[in-house]
């Protein structure tokens, strides 16, 4: 995997990626499809893994791969505008080149623990990005998994990332239930209104599901509490952590929480594993 030096390239040396498609998801989120200059994917990855995107001379940052590994032609990244690098990425156009290295980190255990389970995806805002990769993977291997529930919330309707795909594809798939919510009521929205944890409680899922949780820290905290109340154990809940990552390979010393490096041992953690880590995230 990431340790493979068979290409002769050090893990810190990136490849050039070409942006082949840019979609504006929300006012501050865009999705970028990236390919190798000659076409095709830059590398293979697993759902939940990340890659380092870099605009040379500007900055570099770790982003989760939004597309499913089953997509053959490209990797997609949904990126929220929140700083110098993301500002710059948002100003790029189709055909522009960036550098990409990765994939980095672990992934959701789609081939092991998650197999055969009923899955509950809980996402808030841009937190949908890593989960979408899993959702895509699960959809393409539908027989290997039980039912799928997707609870996704955002500030407003226009802040829902991948809205068209959610309403157009996912919600029409067999055995998939989509539950959308937005924080405040608005015109043209007849769906649920309220925060994700509250909606979670309202929906009252059975506690034999496996939950995948991703979103802003506050949402994760309350959703986790709700899940506990609903009878989930922490071993049934997976989430992702995000800290400052630089090297991506667990050596530069930045992103550790206790003895774990988020970039290498994460970003996906089972909640009982997080409990064992010192409180420094």
């Amino acid at each position: 995997m990431s340790g493979c030096n068979c290409s002769g390239r050090d893990v810190l040396i990136p490849q050039v990626g070409v942006i082949t498609d840019i979609r504006t998801e929300t006012p501050d989120v865009k999705s970028f499809r990236v390919c190798a200059p000659g076409g095709g994917k830059l590398f293979e990855h697993m759902p939940g893994q990340c890659a380092m995107l870099c605009v040379p001379g500007v900055s570099e940052g770790m982003f989760s791969i939004t597309s499913s590994p089953t997509v053959q032609d490209y990797q997609e990244f949904s990126i929220k505008r929140c700083g110098m690098l993301t500002d710059h990425l948002h100003s790029l156009s189709v055909g522009d080149q960036i550098t990409v290295r990765g994939p980095y980190g672990n992934h959701f255990p789609v081939e092991s623990e998650l197999r055969g389970k009923d899955l509950l995806f809980v996402a808030g805002g841009i937190g949908l990005a890593p989960l979408r990769s899993v959702i895509g993977y699960v959809s393409d291997h539908r027989a290997d998994y039980g039912t799928v529930d997707i609870l996704y919330g955002s500030r407003s309707k226009e802040d829902l990332v991948k809205y068209d795909e959610i309403t157009g594809v996912w919600s029409k798939a067999d055995g998939v239930n989509v539950h959308l919510t937005i924080d405040r009521a608005e015109d043209g929205w007849d769906g649920h209104v309220g925060f994700v944890p509250a909606y979670l409680k309202e929906l009252g899922f059975s506690s034999d599901k496996t939950a995948l949780l991703c979103g802003p820290p506050i949402m994760i905290r309350f959703s986790l509490e709700t899940l506990m109340e609903m009878g989930f154990s922490k071993k049934q809940v997976y989430t992702t952590l995000e800290l400052r990552m630089k090297c991506g390979v667990g050596k530069c010393g930045r992103c550790n929480i206790g003895s774990k490096y988020v970039c290498k041992d994460g970003p996906v953690f089972r909640c009982d594993e997080i409990d064992a880590l010192p409180d420094e995230y």
């Binding site: 050090d10 893990v11 700083g83 110098m84 960036i98 090297c247 010393g253």
Partner: protein, 345 residues
């Protein structure tokens, strides 16, 4: 097999090694001794026990280019930095610093391998240098280093008049084979050498920090140690400089940065310090906002997290540089002693 050379012949030895490979050894410049490339003009200093900086930067340089990006005809190209290809010899590495390399190996040679470091390790031959007169700041014994028998590809001992040389590895032997000025030793030499070692070990026993109390420091100690109120008191004098981390033979945190050369962007990495306030700073926050947290991180890493990931191996080697160099008189010894005092209360 131990070989010998009279002390006066050392310059010839250096010249002979330099014929074979680049030779780095302790050199005194502007009053401080550090490892530097040998040439006939350099002032070699084997009398200073510890170089101010550890020799780690010969394998993990303070700053090294990784690759260059440039736009050629509108296309972005990435050109990786070539890996080290020249053989080199590091002469005069103390036992503690040699252990430091073992620690770095655990980091950089574990999956995924850091090819820049690996190439240097492959091309470098380490001549370890046994200690004769350890100093008050030394505590390598605590971490199981025997400074009188340090190991390395080659070990050398220096007595008043003689240098003793013993190759330990095939790499060391290969170097030895290319040097024809080393002489044979006799029993008297062996006895003298043994006596030197005994004397050095006796001094070690008398050092104030020879046997620090490490109970409670291990890979499983995270919770207990992390939450200790002692950190709050210990960190206060810390200036948040990087003197300890840059002097340390095992600190390996690095930063990756870009540099606009005018003809492209060069990406390089350079040493970083977990003591620096912006070390973990992100656009939207910082997981270690206080100096206490950063201070704690450094020692937790050396004595808890690293052992947790490396079969109990500590990433402190007891070289004592932090003891000597911290501007505020802080060091790992103080930390260990503070916890010892607490434990024994």
């Amino acid at each position: 097999m131990t070989q010998r050379l009279s002390r006066e012949e050392l310059p010839r030895l250096y010249a002979a090694i330099a014929q074979v490979a680049d030779l780095f050894l302790p050199v005194k410049r502007a009053g401080k001794t550090n490892f530097a490339l040998w040439n006939t003009q350099t002032e070699v200093d084997l009398d200073t026990l510890k170089t101010a900086k550890s020799p780690k930067d010969l394998f993990f340089p303070q700053c090294e280019p990784l690759y260059t990006c440039d736009w050629r005809e509108g296309n972005l190209t990435v050109t990786a930095q070539a890996l080290a290809e020249r053989d080199f010899v590091v002469f005069g590495v103390r036992g503690c610093d040699l252990r430091g390399l073992d620690v770095l190996d655990r980091v950089f040679l574990s999956d995924p391998v850091d090819s820049f470091y690996a190439a240097r390790r492959e091309h470098g031959t380490v001549i370890a240098f046994a200690c004769r007169e350890p100093e008050e700041s030394c505590f390598c014994r605590t971490f199981g280093v025997d400074c009188a028998e340090p190991g390395g590809d080659v070990t050398v001992w220096l007595t008043d008049g003689t240098l003793y040389w013993r190759a330990n590895t095939p790499k060391g032997q290969a170097l030895t084979d290319r040097l024809d000025l080393l002489g044979k030793t006799d029993d008297a030499d062996e006895q003298r050498l043994a006596a030197e070692q005994t004397a050095a070990r006796e001094i070690i026993d008398r050092l104030p920090y020879a046997n620090l109390f490490l109970d409670g420091w291990n890979g499983d100690a995270t919770e207990a140690r992390f939450a200790s109120p002692l950190w709050e008191k210990l960190y206060r004098p810390c200036l948040a400089c990087g003197a300890c981390t840059f002097a340390c033979p095992t600190c390996q945190c690095y930063d990756i940065r870009d540099y606009d050369t005018g003809n492209g962007v060069q990406r390089f990495r350079c040493w970083d310090s977990c003591m620096y306030s912006d070390f973990t700073m992100m656009a939207h926050g910082n997981n270690r906002t206080s100096q206490m947290q950063r201070f704690r991180q450094r020692f937790m890493h050396k004595l808890v997290y690293f052992p947790a990931n490396n079969d109990g191996m500590y990433s402190c080697v007891g070289c004592g540089r932090c003891v000597e160099q911290c501007p505020s008189g802080l060091n790992i010894v103080k930390v260990i002693k503070a916890f010892e005092k607490e434990a024994k209360k």
